[in-house]
Symmetry: D2
Amino acid sequence: MIIVMKPEATQAEIDHIVETIVSLGLRPHISRGETRTIIGAIGDESPLRAKPLAGFPGVESVTEIQKPYKLASRQLRPEPTLINVNGVSVGGPQVHVIAGPCSVETREGAIEIAEAVRAAGATMLRGGAFKPRTSPYSFQGLGEEGLKILAEARERTGLPIVTEVMDPRQVELVEQYADVLQIGARNVQNFNLLKEVGLSAKPVFLKRGLSTTLQEFLMSAEYVMSQGNPQVILCERGIRTFETAMRHTLDIAAVAWLKAESHLPVFIDPSHAAGLYRWVDSLARAAVAAGADGLMIEVHPRPEEALSDGAQALIPSRFRSLMQELRPIAEAIGRSL
Amino acid sequence: MIIVMKPEATQAEIDHIVETIVSLGLRPHISRGETRTIIGAIGDESPLRAKPLAGFPGVESVTEIQKPYKLASRQLRPEPTLINVNGVSVGGPQVHVIAGPCSVETREGAIEIAEAVRAAGATMLRGGAFKPRTSPYSFQGLGEEGLKILAEARERTGLPIVTEVMDPRQVELVEQYADVLQIGARNVQNFNLLKEVGLSAKPVFLKRGLSTTLQEFLMSAEYVMSQGNPQVILCERGIRTFETAMRHTLDIAAVAWLKAESHLPVFIDPSHAAGLYRWVDSLARAAVAAGADGLMIEVHPRPEEALSDGAQALIPSRFRSLMQELRPIAEAIGRSL
Amino acid sequence: MIIVMKPEATQAEIDHIVETIVSLGLRPHISRGETRTIIGAIGDESPLRAKPLAGFPGVESVTEIQKPYKLASRQLRPEPTLINVNGVSVGGPQVHVIAGPCSVETREGAIEIAEAVRAAGATMLRGGAFKPRTSPYSFQGLGEEGLKILAEARERTGLPIVTEVMDPRQVELVEQYADVLQIGARNVQNFNLLKEVGLSAKPVFLKRGLSTTLQEFLMSAEYVMSQGNPQVILCERGIRTFETAMRHTLDIAAVAWLKAESHLPVFIDPSHAAGLYRWVDSLARAAVAAGADGLMIEVHPRPEEALSDGAQALIPSRFRSLMQELRPIAEAIGRSL
Amino acid sequence: MIIVMKPEATQAEIDHIVETIVSLGLRPHISRGETRTIIGAIGDESPLRAKPLAGFPGVESVTEIQKPYKLASRQLRPEPTLINVNGVSVGGPQVHVIAGPCSVETREGAIEIAEAVRAAGATMLRGGAFKPRTSPYSFQGLGEEGLKILAEARERTGLPIVTEVMDPRQVELVEQYADVLQIGARNVQNFNLLKEVGLSAKPVFLKRGLSTTLQEFLMSAEYVMSQGNPQVILCERGIRTFETAMRHTLDIAAVAWLKAESHLPVFIDPSHAAGLYRWVDSLARAAVAAGADGLMIEVHPRPEEALSDGAQALIPSRFRSLMQELRPIAEAIGRSL
């Protein structure tokens, strides 16, 4: 950690910082410039992070040097993590597509979609049984009934299931059915929920929040991993900015940054970023070219009848064409899809 | 709801929209302009909101007319809601200040602070027993032990207690001790938690999230109210923008907007917006002048020893001076403090 | 335009809106809902836009229906605009890469880079002679000397020159040398400058500002076009958001949206978005896959000696590899590069 | 400047940084931590800022220590700068209000407004003769005719005139009439214009851009000051964020931060932040309480007829009431108005 003192800082103020550093087991390193004194703290920064140094007398600014995440960092584990989802290997050379409806609505519909997306090349099935909705008056999902339908769709198609869990009390139930536990964007800093899925044996699909910095995003992954579950898949799905032409702004640069900083697989969800089916193709192609390990895409055979987010769903035929467009792009960068 | 059709929309596409409107019990109203046809849907918009009209063929844009919140809206209840917190009336002419430490740390410390803030004029005590921290390696709060300390501080000072609940499973425990249940910024769209506190008999202190729009914020209040708990206090505490000079950007305009749109009391938390004690005074003065019903301010006698957020805590003497500065401002706009 | 009246709006307030609409030559269309009256204004919205209807008594909200841009809109001109830059056809099936140094620094350096980027497949040369710098103490460009060097580099390589003009007084000089006049992000709403380049016979390369909405961006193009110059190339180069992992957030969705709304060619500048050479490849690949008509990339043989933005410059060998990576992606989506 | 090396940085990479520092006349200071080496550069940072250190091999991050602004900084000049505008002293204990129409429209109208705002206590008159408008089809101002009208209004009322200059070519003309040259938000980084007004003898009223950081804002002031004109008044007028409830988000914290970092006077323009007259009062009160040195407020006797921004204009009677509300707030914090 580096502490820059104000030009007018007194020697006593400098000494006070130095004593604090020493008392926490770090080694101070003082550098006197023309106007400011700079104090480096050498050693494990963790205890020092708990100290409110920015508020200490005489301090102008504080810069952390060490990354706050450990388990999620590429430094700890230089090789990419491969996550095995019922035989599907995520994070390796193959780009995976998770597809399916926003919400599970009916048994027939879910199976119809599962078969369609498998035929088009998807390797996992998505579908929400517990739905986080902005309005308390909106459809909130079928609950356990939805999980059972997903399990049946898996039986029929062999596709592993990715489904959301919203509440620590639901984890036990959801993991009985799901192959991957999804944490939605709004719960990316629901720390008790993160801890709970960190105790599960199932992989976690963690969506970035609307205003989560990439560093905070890795800290949320760290919460899961710190409980003993190393299988975290990261997913960028649009951040909130001033631009309203689309629902959110897809932060495509997150792919390169996250893959450089972390060993975890990185997915993109173009459907939620776009908010409208019309824009999904372009974003999906960009994601594969950028180097994403996978995509999550919403598909619905009759979007007008969808109980949630129908406007962003692709119909199966369009999804099929998109998959055909994506394959040569994956190959162009040395991957398969 | 108003549906604007594309210039090239066909009659069949227009008819399809009209039929959808009629089938949901609304009345269509068609207006043919020079280039575009516009369709109004007259009646209760709720069923129509579930339809993904933006994705229907021929549609250019969709504009909602009715507010999605009902119980929280000023239209439903033109008079301001007064919330009684153990005899303290929130939302009336008196501006209230909730003060105290970020986290409850020790029995002696909590009582010392409670007495100091009461002496300075605070009318409620804050203090966290369950702490949402970005890092899993940071201090996570004392839990029930912290709640007991708060209860003792209330006994000593008479100040009602405001404390955070992070998990639906904690609500039962926290409401045994707390006078007001706080929902933190990161949980503003943790809908299961909102529903749970909506079943409580205790008032809820709801903090706006870092990227929650004001309309979404009222929808979160609506979640609580829709479960039967009408006692919601709204609190703006800084949003996330490109500016990094302070930790967050205090959206001071939220005060006027929320008070115009809703009947619920509106507080400001200048401490979390600022992130550094130095900026708290100016923001607190602005909040009172803007018309806030109250403030939440962090106070700690020895900020350097605080286990969380020490840099933003005021020491008791500075808090006392601030309270003296705030009083004439409250009076200048016809209120007391 | 659609004017939604407040539930409590009086008949006189409604009449007043209707009279205003009629007085400006539009036709009113009234629709009375259960709680609100909605007034549509049918006809050319332009005169109505000048009226501050949102502030009229009884008005709750105002929604514009017609697009504020005309010349830039796809509606006016359904076919893509092809722009001929000294024989290079921009906006057609070929994806073009404009490459070169941030600033022109020396004659030898500029020619060395021009030859390197041409060899790698770039079809235009960039280089700044007039540099907008955040600090008045930074290198401000070589001015006319820089333009002369660029002209010499063109002579040697045949590459057309793209270079920035910052001031209406420079346009006459710059257009003597340049093939394309670049307007930088900070000048995207420097309306007098836009008008001035609108009078030029040279194509304009218009960069989106850091906080320009896509609609405002098209309005800036409209400024240029309204003066008689239809040759505008749009360029997204990163917007300012809360995320600081990269210098700016590349809004990759701008490609699809701008190409749907406008007939103008759309480029991406991954170098300025990234701020660091390490991230340029991933963003460039994403841009081509998303459907961009071209890229602008900074290249410098000795980035450490660059007088501006060296950290984001690719060295020629890396630029060459990138070009080789981009080609199959362009082909995968049916284009060439 | 502090350069943090990557854990895997080689000795040669470290040596290369050290040599660069030395070659630019600074003194290196090396500190070897457990995983990373940190290099401090002691001395004047300016030459080092031109070097793209972030892109040097082995570098993880670079942190600047010295402020990039000098003339604008409080460190250079601890006392607040007082600016004399025709006898009005800006930056001292009195809070000043600049009021008037968005655009100058007619001679009679301008004089009527000038007299009304003077009677209410405004000490300067605003009014635009050259108007930056998002659309090329909107009213662009009366030009010199507008300046003449403003001069006549000054003659009648004694109020000094604040008016915008958009183009370096207009400065000579505008300064013949104006007492203060306003630079609009969109031109805050129009560096050639900043340099031009930096050569003027008239004070400059500099508005922050929609996405200008506070540090960049001071750099824009520095541009003006570096040309020899020390009379710069800073004005915050709303930044662009995700929130759309108001036109922009007023960054009220800018007052405290700018006044701590700089000696220049700081104003707030609540009208442009709000975009609607209804919200102006609350924001104006907040600004005075926060410690602003002045306000800029739009006033129009018949907002419905205003040629620009009518929705945000206060009518004179409401402006008068607001002024009466503001006075006791100013007094509450020891100032006058």
